[in-house]
């Protein structure tokens, strides 16, 4: 019989530029999560397993076996430990594995840490590193990158559905506004919509990165780590915080080469992962009160909001224009600031998204709280959509 799993601790130091080592950065997040759960480090900590999510520590920081290193420096020995690599969806994948470890009965308490230190390398080395997840023959050697695919995808969506450059900018401004209330966000300033879309110097202020995408349509490069404590619901009363339940998880894959997709304007893996998560949770899109969607590029927030069932296909940008995705709107999206403003340290992102939903369901999202939120969805997007994990969290009825 499958056991129920909850989240009882979260740790989310501010994303940005790390002044400490990769492992220390991960440890700061981990101890914040343990403290939040009321777990005392040292003897009797009760953590059975640690998962470390990182896409590139082996390449960027030239370090391997990091989960084993962390379990030792945190003095959680002899807990089980593994590292998880699933591109930019590593964080949600690690949470899924934590869920499975507990649901199976093998573990009672699991610590999941996601971390990435990307700013140790130059911009073009970082761009190259991220592009290594593209197809090694049909894509990577051409100089194709994730922004290149996002640019080509954006152009198709603009042609088909009438999305404008200003719609992308509206999403960016909304997310920057939300990030002003998130102390963990990397970027704490709000660009003016008129300046980035209409100013005569907009090509200098907001230059093209991958046409038609401009600088403000793309997330920044950030260092960061985030951590959560998962537990079996039957032991949840050991901890300081009330558990937030993991009600559903879905995951789906798609073609490696983007050109091979059946419908070039679809994000099929997003749709399938979300449908699976709704089914497992026995909930529907309209039951969601808040969502974190993977806006590495602003076009993705719009199309994901359609693929997860919040809006009909081709109408996500209209909902943005009507303000329905703002806090106070029909379905607030990326209340944390999203990847756009909070930052996108690859391996940390999936964990960070789930933390924002936990804070919203606890009622702890000060300044950006969605009143009465009881259920939320997080979508963590790997590759250019070839591996997507969707997670649904719910608040327990009192």
């Amino acid at each position: 019989m499958r056991r129920e799993v909850g989240i009882v601790g979260v740790g989310h130091p501010r994303f940005g530029k790390s002044s400490v080592s990769f492992t220390d950065m991960c440890c700061y997040a981990a101890v914040d999560a343990l403290d939040d759960a009321g777990i005392k480090t040292g003897e009797g900590h009760g953590v059975d397993q640690l998962f470390l999510a990182s896409m590139g520590a082996q390449m960027l920081n030239r370090q391997s076996g990091i989960a084993s290193a962390l379990v030792d420096t945190l003095n959680l020995r002899p807990a089980m430990a593994e590292s998880v690599e699933n591109g930019p969806a590593s964080g949600a994948s690690a949470i899924k594995l934590g869920y499975m470890a507990i649901a199976s009965g093998m573990c009672d308490v699991v610590l999941v840490i996601g971390g990435e230190m990307m700013r140790v390398v130059s911009g073009w080395e970082g761009t190259d590193f991220v592009a290594t997840m593209l197809h090694p023959i049909a894509e990577y050697p051409y100089g194709l990158t994730l922004p290149a695919f996002a640019g080509m995808f954006t152009r198709l969506i603009m042609e088909k559905y009438g999305v404008l450059e200003s719609d992308l900018a509206r999403v960016a401004v909304k997310n920057h506004e939300n990030a002003m209330y998130n102390p963990a966000a990397h970027i704490q300033l709000v660009p003016k919509l008129e300046v980035i879309t209409e100013d005569e110097d907009k090509d200098i202020i907001n230059p093209y990165v991958a046409e038609p995408l401009r600088l403000y349509d793309v997330c920044p490069v950030s260092d960061g780590a985030a951590a959560i404590v998962l537990c079996a619901m039957e032991v949840a009363d050991r901890f300081a915080k009330k558990p937030i339940r993991i009600a559903g998880i879905g995951q789906a894959t798609d073609t490696h080469a983007v050109a091979e997709r059946e419908v070039a304007t679809d994000l099929l893996a997003v749709r399938l992962a979300a449908q699976q998560a709704y089914k497992m949770a026995n909930l529907a899109p309209q039951d969601m009160d808040v969502a974190e969607l993977h806006d590495a590029f602003q076009i993705l927030e719009i199309v994901e909001s359609e693929e997860v069932g919040f809006f009909p296909r081709g109408e996500g940008h209209l909902a943005v224009r009507r303000g329905e995705t703002k806090i106070g709107g029909k379905i607030p999206i990326n209340t944390s600031g999203g990847l756009k403003a909070k930052g996108h340290p690859l391996g940390a992102t999936g964990v960070s998204q789930v933390i924002e939903i936990v804070l919203q369901l606890r009622g702890e999202a000060t300044g950006r709280q969605v009143e009465g939120a009881r259920a939320g969805l997080a979508v963590n997007f790997g590759g250019f959509g070839n591996n997507v994990v969707a997670t649904i969290l719910t608040k327990e009825v009192e």
């Binding site: 073009w124 894509e139 290149a148 080509m152 152009r155 983007v258 050109a259």
Partner: protein, 112 residues
Amino acid sequence: MNEQLFAYRCLQCGELHHPQHFVCRKCGARQFEKVLLEGEGTLVTWTRVYNLPEGYMKPFLCFGIVNFPNGLNVSGQLEVDQPEIGTKLQTTVGVVKEGIGQDYFGFIFKAK
């Protein structure tokens, strides 16, 4: 050097693939024959990228997805001044990345 690029046709069901797959995406068979990819294609979408990764000494590069008359879509570089969706382009194969001791060949689509 006259480099060529191929599609891979499933010997059992005829489904075309590019890049090569280990198992046919349609019928599950595992044997393929090579089919030359050449001639004309139609531009599906494109971008001009200014932040290139390490190893490309250019201020920007254009990329596109091109649809062949046989139905296959592939990614490639574009050497077209003003690309437009729906334009017919000529398929060529050339060096897409210069490597130390090894150049990488790929599709470079040009205006007709």
